[in-house]
Every structure is written in C-alpha cells, then in structure tokens.
Amino acid sequence: MPKTEVVVRIAGAAGDGIASTGESFARVASRSGLHVFAYNSYQSVIRGGFVWLQVRAGDKKIYSQGDEPDFLIALNQDEASRHGPAMPSGSGIFYNSDKIKIDNSMVKERVKLYPLPIKDLSVKYGQNPVMQNTVALGALTKILMMNFDMVVSVIKDTFGDKNKAIVDANIGVAQAGYDYASSHWESINFSPKYDYDSRRPVLTGNQAISLGAAAAGCKFYSAYPMTPATSILHWMAAHSEKCGIVVKQMEDEISVLNMTIGAGFAGARAMCGTSGGGFALMTEAVGLAAITETPVVIVTSQRGGPSTGLPTKTEQGDLFQVLGASQGDYPKIVIAPSTVEDCFYATAEAFNLAERYQLPVILMSDLYLSEHMETVSNINFNVGIDRGLIATSNGNDGHFKRYAFTENGVSPRSLPGMEGLTHVAASDDHDETGALISDALTNEETRVRIMDKRMRKMQYALKELPPPKLLGPPDADITLVGWGSTYSVLRETADVLAKNGVTANHLQIRYIWPFHDEAVEKILSNAKRILDVEGNYSGQLAKLIRMETGIKIERKLLKYDGEPFYPNQVVKKAMEVAKA
C-alpha cells in the first residue's frame, strides 16, 4: 500500500537553520494540499546544543508530530550519531557526505542512506553553511515525489522580492539537490492526495492566539519577553500599525498586567501574555482586575517549572498556580484551548467573556501548543463581538452605581470620558457607587452583598459555558482524560486503539474554571476505566477533578521530562490500562 503520511526529522545544533528548514518543508507540504503538524524541540541557547524538529504531513488531519521518523535530515555528525542508530528499518537518512560519516554498520537493517555531496552541489551558489539544508530539502521533495514548483514558491515567499540573488541561489541549490536525488535514487512509494489549489495556513498556537485577538478587536497588548509566550509579542508588534493595536513591552510583568488593566478600564479590549514566572509576578493584579471588575485577557503559556525550570520545554504544571493566583475569593474564567485552531477561537471567546462578565479571563497554553506548527482549515475572522453592559449617560453625575447589585452580578460599566458617569474603581472593597467600605468604614452587610454580587457571575458563567462532551463511544473500554494541548495526542490515541480492537473515548477539559462539576461527574462515573494523561508531576487536573467531583482517578500517565507526549507512549499505557 502506498504511504499517505510521512514523518521527517531534522536534527542539528541551534543556529543550523532547523526551524526555517522545517517551516519551509511544512509549507511545501501545505501548498501541496497536505495537512501538517510540526514540533521543534529546542533549547535556550542561540547557538550549539541539540535541536531537532519533526514534521509530519499527510492527506488527512494530523494530530501530532508522530513517533518514529521516516526520514532524518542530519545536519552534523553528533546528531547523525545520536539519531541515526534509532532510525527504524525502512527509513532513510539525508546527510552532508563531505562532513558527516555514516555507514551501514551504524544503522539498523534496511535503513537507506542518502549521502549528499553538498560542496559540489552548492559550489556555484556560494557556500553558505545553511545551503546544506536547502539541498536536503530539494532531495527530500524528489524522494517524496512532490512538485518542485511548490519548493520554488516557498523559497520566493520566504526571501521576498528584495533579495533576488538569495532567492536564485536557494532555488539553485534546492534544484541541485532535487536533480541529484533524481539521478541517484528511487523515489519512495509516497502518494497522498496532493492538491495544489488548496493551501492551508501553517500556524503555531501563539500565532492563532494573536490572530484570534485581532479578530476579537484587541486594541492593546503588553508583555515582557518570556518563552514560550514571546512570539505573541512578536506578531503583535509586527502588526501593530496594520491592525491598530497598541503594543507595549514593559519593564516587568507586574507592570504588564497593571497596564493591561488600565487599558481595559479605559475601554480598550486588552490582553497580555507571559509564562509561569511572569504570571507569578502578575498575581496581585489578577485580583485587582476582579475587584475593580475590569475586563482583561491574560495568556499564560506553561513551560517546565519550578522557577526558571526548563525554559524551552513543555509542561502543564501551572494549573494550581493559575487557580490559586491572588488573595481572596474572586471570579475569574480559565480556559485551556486544545488545538491551534481552538487557540484562535478561545482567544476571541475570552474577550467576549471578559467583557460580558467584567473579570479576568486566563487562557492557559503550554510550549507545545504555543509553538508547534499545524495546518488549520477553519479560521473565520467574523468571530462575533459582545462588549457586555456599557452604561449610557444618565445625568446622574456623582451617583452612578458602577457596582449596582444585579441578579447575575454584572453591572453596567462606564468608560472614562463618558458624560455624567464618573466613578472610582477601587482595589479596596467598596459599595455600589465605588465608595470604600474598608478599614474604619467597614460595613459588614455591604461587604457580604458586594462579595456575593461578584461571585454570582461565576454561577451565571457556568450556566452559559458549554459543558464538556465525551468524544467517542459512550461505553468504551477506556476513557482518556486530559486538558489543553494533550487533546490531539489523545484523539490520535483513541483512533490507534480502535484499530487495535480497544474502544476508547476521550474527555478533554477546556473550561478549567468555573468547573463543570456535574457534567464531569456524570461522565466519569459511567466510565469503565479512566486514564488521566497530563504533562506534570502530580496529576493536577486529576486533583482538581477529585476536589470538584469526589472522583479519584487512579491511573495516570504523567510526563515532566520536558518533551510532549508521543502517540506510542499513550497508546502503550492505554492498552495496559484497558487490558487490566
């Protein structure tokens, strides 16, 4: 049977141009009508270190970077020696034969070697070291029987019209690689359904978050650089003028969130982004947004903790940090988007919820979701905008009840500049007009009423937010439970299990807070066997589920080595659990 899906791993050192080569291949595949999923495993060094990127492409929706690669592009000897011996039978290795020595004794049986004489092939075009990547890309596309026109179009778009010499040189070396492969090796039997008219955008989660924010009318974004949230700042800054978004890098994350609150208070849809360490600095202001009832959207993209932890590795270890952020009881909404496409829609939704309920909405991503690339098919910029209750001028100057006690806890807000609706938004607790009830003025009855008012928002939000649904057959042998970025790998796992005669269904928690306790309890109490899959040490979601439903999930697959889940790992564990 011809292959319809391929996994390519590119391995080298930081600074070798791995990300751009991987991205180019992803785009060539996407422009050929394929679905793509790519993950870059890198480290916090600009040069050196071990880096590899894995791209998986095929004609059906792809849910992960896949397991064992079909092809390796090795960019240096270390990486050839490290990854080469693990390459499975039937796979192939491309490498620069001028510099890298591999022979058949180093690899498994039936691993095909594709030595590329880079110097000879690129001598005409000046010998830039990253030319080896482009030669390999050309050779790979030939072996995969892909249309070389797509390589040409990607190179042109990558380097732009301004650099004709660079464009020509890159096309030249890619062509040389393609021709060399064509005269030396057979193509493999890879024949997915190519479609050169449909090209899907290849987006990372952070890019989808940025686009979702722009679609929702975000007018202010602030951040302090921190991996893995930084690429949101980069997109926002690059598109500030075009999209009319004020973008400000601040001196620290404390100022970032406070500034975002100022922008939200003044009437702009405002967002900020960070990772766990920066979120820790923001925590005091999360409560400020809640007590002043100021809408803001906070993106926190998790990486390995604690402390500086694993700055460039993925983890889902901040659930309790986010749930426990800031002192006191206060209303907030926490959403964990599950896919790149969901990053777009969840962000747009976050703005509506923030304004409808006048509270902080926290989007929890992680490095894997924020930074992996995926083709997305369904992005619609018409996301629907709901600004919630805005007061109209009532001439009642000085007596505007900004925090009027209402049934659902939401009171019409006025924006600075509006006639006759002045008020003070205070971090001290206050009455309906905003007048302080703290310290010497404490009024127990008003305090209870205003607390109840704010907290009522959570009851109404819970009613509005759709409860989680069980995906797959209701009476399955095993129920997989996860949150956030594990959605895709769990989905793929369920498919693989089905092929192996095990039925699986899948519960992904998207609204972390308020928590749909009744719906989750109902689903889990009907499950035959439950496997909790999380990228952290302690099973934080499982703890939350136990806290909210009383259900204790015994079987867990927990990962905190910095790498994302690979489908094989989850399948293996799920088979064990299902057969137990």
Binding site: E241, K248, M259, G267, G417, A426
Partner: protein, 287 residues
C-alpha cells in the same frame, strides 16, 4: 476658570486633621478649574497609602489600584485613550519605593501624564515606618535606632531619567502648589510634582514648621528652568535651604505621539475586529 465645586464630591476625605494631603486635593481641584477640564475627561489613578485615597475625594474618573502600581494602570489608560487627562497621585512609599521601577521607566518614555507625589517621608497608612525618602538617622517604628541608608532624591532622579517637567511644591503653600499642578497638567509630556506634604501623625521631624524655616521659591531667585545643569545643582539643596517651584521643563515628543498603534487616533474609538479582507491578508502570511 470653572467653579472649584465642580470637582467636589460628598465623600469627605478621611485624612487626619492637618494632613498635608488636603492641600494637594484642593490644589488638583483648583488646577482643573483653572484649566477648565471637565471631570469626565480626567482620570486620577493611585496606588495604596493614605495619599492614594485621593481619587475617592474628588469628582473625576478614578482608579485606586494596588500598592505601587498606579503608573502602569495610568499609562495603559493613556495609551489607549490619549484624549484623557491622566493624573497619578500617591505617596513616596508607593511611588519611590515599591513602584520606583515604573516611575523611572515612565519618565524615560515621556508619557503625557502628571505624577503628583505626596511625599511625607514616612509610611503613613501602615502607621509610621521608614520610607525611601526618610532622612538618614531618622527614627521610625521600623528603624528605632535611626535609618542607616541614604534617602532617594526624587528631583535629581527625575532630572537624570528624562522627566520633561520637574517641580516641587509644599502643602503649606497651597496656591503655589495649585500652580505647580496646573503647570504640570498643562505640560505635554511626563511631569513630576513632588509635594512636601507633612504627615502630622507619624513624621515628627519634617513638620510644617521645619519646612517653613527652609523653603524658598525658585522663581523668586531667577532660576532658569530650561537649564538641566542648573536644575540638577538646585536639586541637591536640602537641609539648610529647600527650593520649591519648577526645576526644569523641556519639550520632547511624547510616547503617544510616536506610537505606531495610535496612527489612526485613540484606539478606544476605533471599530473593533478586522475585515475579512484584512483577515485573509494576515492568514496568507502563513500559507
């Protein structure tokens, strides 16, 4: 000139009788009246401290945030709506201690906001600990043997950090104080008005009397407010003679004027969302 009562509210200020902050409140109201700015168009932002309670005692939009973080809130509001007159008011602990980082950066950015610090050289609300401006040797509840470190000199710091308007006022000279606030609000760019505002309850050293014996007005002394070197020299005067008035003022493009995201005007009045065409264009970058 508007009627000062336009800026009054029924809520009575809760400061101790004699607290210097009353004069600051009055000074802001007088300045707004003189400049004929409507209460709707003013946003007063504060942090936490006795002084930071000020927004609740005057008619305008107000945001009474958390300790030390008034400036980021204020600049966030200003950046999305540059039409607002944004005033930040707070204490020396709030602004020169926990919030110093934000103050320094706001000055070099030259946001067009007015920062009024009620500098009483003590932590009032928390009942009398040393603040960043408490003088060396002063005893307080947290420094019973006397402060060991040197105080911050806010005037010198503002001058070297790029504040484009730097003035000092004294709560015992209310009309002059109002004038300084008025000039600060009128100034386009970051203005600092450091107000010597005695805490009658917890600072028994820097009293009205102590200041009266030392204070003189720069404008009575032929000080050139355009000369940075002169201003820096004057900023070192303390102890024997304490200058009040404008130390320095200069013109520099404001942050808002250069911000690319504001090219189409205040973002709060721009339509929300993006067109399908622009959306298509944005997506094409990723194909």
């Amino acid at each position: 000139m508007r009627d000062v009562s336009m800026y009054k509210v029924e809520t009575k200020a809760t400061w101790c009788p004699g607290c210097g902050d009353f004069a600051v409140l009055r000074g802001i109201q007088m300045a707004l009246a003189a400049l004929e700015i409507n209460p709707n168009d003013v946003l007063v932002v504060s942090g936490i401290g006795c002084s930071s309670n000020l927004p609740g005692f005057l008619k305008s939009y107000g945001f009474h945030g958390i300790h030390g973080r008034a400036i980021p809130v204020a600049t966030g509001a200003k950046l999305v709506n540059p039409d607002l007159n944004v005033i930040v008011a707070g204490g020396d602990g709030d602004g020169y201690g926990i919030g110093l980082n934000h103050w320094v950066h706001a000055m070099r950015r030259n946001f067009d906001i007015t920062y009024i610090v009620m500098n009483n050289q003590i932590y009032g609300l928390t009942t009398g600990q040393a603040s960043p401006t408490t003088e060396k040797g002063q005893r307080s509840k947290s420094t019973p043997a006397g402060v060991i470190e040197l105080p911050i000199n806010p005037i010198s710091m503002a001058l070297v950090t790029g504040s484009t308007f730097v003035a000092r006022a004294f709560s015992g000279d209310a009309d002059h104080l109002a004038k300084m606030v008025e000039l600060g609000i009128k100034h386009k760019g970051f203005s600092l008005v450091d107000v010597l505002s005695p805490c009658v309850t917890y600072n028994k050293h820097n009293t009205y009397q102590w200041f009266r014996e030392r204070i003189y007005r720069l404008e009575d002394n032929g000080h050139n407010t355009k000369n940075l070197d002169d201003a820096i020299k004057k900023s070192y005067e303390w102890d024997a003679k304490i200058p009040i008035g404008v130390f320095y003022e200069t013109d520099r493009t404001t942050y808002e004027d250069e911000e690319p995201g504001l090219k189409r005007g205040p973002v709060v009045s721009q339509p929300l969302g993006i067109s399908q065409e622009l959306g298509k264009e944005l997506l094409e970058e990723f194909e």
